[in-house]
Subunit: 416 residues, 2 copies
């Protein structure tokens, strides 16, 4: 960590000038489940987003792209329970949601970011959203409760809210960045059924903001895989309202780097938490690949955490490393299999690491199966697969989870 | 079916001059499980093969490539229980297996095709194979039992033998083609943990034989997906010994086409059976895509049958067609989502078809959920997903299976 950074509470409400809210409006049948979220900045904010690469895209994506064309936004609305995708009237409904934000919260339609997550191909009724707006707006709060309600309202099959914020310093001025995310199934690199909403009070131009998140996404959210399905609705958005009062970041340099580091600390945390909370998952699997150029290392790491056979073996605590070599081999990267070593590692703390090398020079080593079992059933429920391929300095990390009975159960009848 | 073709019994022993055998030699602990297979031609046969595209390849693949460089072979040996992959001495062991065939069956080492399937990264002992050779060779038989033992000996987690043969006519001469296959997990297009061994008594040059299987694989074995994992050991091989006495096929034309059709009938059957017998599968899922060029239709069909979310929905009999649109959207093919229609279909017989259209013009239609449930729980355990994208004549079909608790169970602890 090159620039000092401090974890703080509050998620998207941690930065100055942001409030958030979450209510149950009725898109979901379960009244205990919040299903509508609003995040608002006190002032208009430089804003940017990255989107799913699926060519079937939700209507909210199209509307957000249009609204962010000028690089500014001031509010974000998101519902769960319905993706508003593959609906004939999808764009009209998404625009109507933005109009409701203007009507009830006074933010112009063109400054609203919109997202939806849930079932694809079911018309999204506007009535419950309209009915929920007064409570949603009156619930806006800059306290922790405001953030927590917003974080809860975007969850679908997620079991846990995903929230993170940091304070950091830019040119002697204290700044803050915070985020919430959802995503549990239909998760695959390239922005997949994943939503992440970041706020910051840093002063930065829309162009530099877009550059920062585009670079960051490649090594954060795009390195997560739960099931290989790239969703139609993924989006990561950021609003930077400048209220910290730092000197405007309008070019690369130390200030930009300090911002990017803080951004990365939020996104890396959220990405890992999405993998950890993968549908049915019992374990977080991290795969780090060392010794080859980062672009290749990313492909290999992703291929390993995406393999159903690797994921099943991790569930069963089976040190079947051949499946890892196999997944590496179909990653699309050319490498010399005889140079590969593979190690499993788990840790209770940085000075209590439990690890076992299972493959060296591309072949089996005579490892202790009991030790391997100990690593793979480690109480931390976090297993690192550490791969070394060559002597280069490039490396990458991907995050995934094990494949369990519960993944099948959850997805066997999601709509009911 | 342009050329008349008749199903016949006998698998790889159906063509003239082929015998086969299968024994338990001890690579597998379970003595009930055959683990060593031999197929032999009375005379040297034009031979060809296609191989996995995984860059980590089993030692048997390297040895077979070398032995088939001249386009001829006369015997095939295959063990199950150990893939002989990622082993420092893998090539030596594979060569030693070929030497055992020469020693015991009198076929020169350079005319032996070799394959192995099972766990990756565990040294393959040669001793049990050497001990099993006398019984393996003395068991060679041209009867159905010979074929069935061979088919059983190549199985790993397969529940069923996969066997098919046809007789057909080339220039007034009756010819035969037959095959066996294995494959249940680690199955993904591009030849994945799948072995298929075909024999035929057709007279054909090695060049035309290679052309026939290379074209055929694109629309047969490469269109199967069980779990998206492309294995290190996949191989499809064919031996054509010419004993039917037809005029040698040395160019394209009617005779070649008749052969290709018969070949396709064997490979299509085996490919479908591999999907049906996918690890833990309860249903065969076929996805056919119509209206766009075949090369694109293939990518889309494969993407749909490969989606964990689609596969889970099929297991749960959930008509969640949005996941199908989603999988189409990340297939890498550009198409207009608003032109897509999706239908589920199942049939007890060609005149007893049960079907339901769930999506038209890329959006939901008001379909009967009870009818959808009826289709998706159909007694045939075979569900067709029929997708229409445009008005073109191109089309393709891919085969997969549902994702079940048992897939996870089987793969959670495969090595024990």
């Amino acid at each position: 960590m090159k620039y000092p950074t401090t974890p703080i509470p509050g998620g998207v409400c941690a930065p100055k000038g942001f409030t958030a809210s979450g209510v149950h409006c009725g898109i979901r049948k379960n009244k205990q489940k919040l299903d509508l979220c609003l995040i608002k900045s006190e002032v208009r904010a430089a804003s940017a987003a990255v989107y799913t690469q699926n060519i079937v895209q939700g209507a909210p994506i199209a509307v957000t792209k249009a609204n962010l064309a000028d690089g500014y936004a001031q509010a974000l609305i998101c519902n769960s329970g319905n993706a508003n995708t593959c609906n004939a009237d999808g764009v009209e409904i998404a625009q109507a949601m933005c109009a409701l934000v203007e009507q009830h919260a006074g933010i112009p339609v063109a400054d609203v970011i919109i997202a939806s997550t849930g079932v694809i191909g079911q018309p999204l009724p506007i009535a419950p959203i309209a009915e929920g707006m007064p409570a949603l707006v009156s619930g806006l709060s800059g306290e922790i409760s405001g953030n927590d309600n917003a974080a809860a309202a975007i969850m679908t099959t997620d079991l846990r809210e995903k929230i993170r914020a940091f304070s950091f310093d830019i040119g002697g001025v204290e700044c803050r960045i915070g985020g919430i995310a959802k995503g549990s199934g239909m998760i695959n690199p390239n922005m997949a059924t994943m939503l992440a909403f970041i706020t910051t009070d840093v002063a930065i131009t829309p162009e530099m903001l877009q550059l920062a998140i585009s670079r960051d996404t490649e090594i954060s959210f795009n390195m997560v895989c739960v099931d290989g399905d790239t969703s139609t609705n993924d989006m990561m958005s950021i609003m930077a309202n400048g209220m910290a009062g730092n000197k405007l970041i309008d070019s690369e340099g130390d200030d930009f780097n300090a911002f990017c580091q803080a951004l990365g600390m939020v996104t890396n945390y959220l990405a890992r938490e999405i993998a950890r909370d993968g549908e049915g998952a019992t374990k977080l699997i991290t795969c780090s690949v060392h010794g080859i150029p980062a672009v290749d290392a990313r492909k290999i790491a992703k291929s390993v955490v995406s393999s159903s056979l690797v994921k099943s073996a991790m569930f069963g605590a089976d040190a079947n490393w051949g499946r890892i070599l196999c997944a590496m081999g179909y990653s699309g990267v050319t490498f010399d299999p005889s140079k590969v070593s593979v190690k499993f590692s788990a840790a209770s703390s940085p000075d209590d690491i439990c690890e076992v090398t299972v493959c060296e020079n591309g072949a089996s080593v005579d490892f202790d199966e009991d030790l391997a079992k100990k690593v793979l059933t480690h109480e931390s429920n976090e297993i690192a697969i550490i791969i070394k391929i060559g002597e280069g300095s490039g490396h990458a990390t991907a995050w995934g989870c094990d494949l369990t009975y519960d993944y099948v159960k959850i997805n066997g009848d999601y709509r009911t």
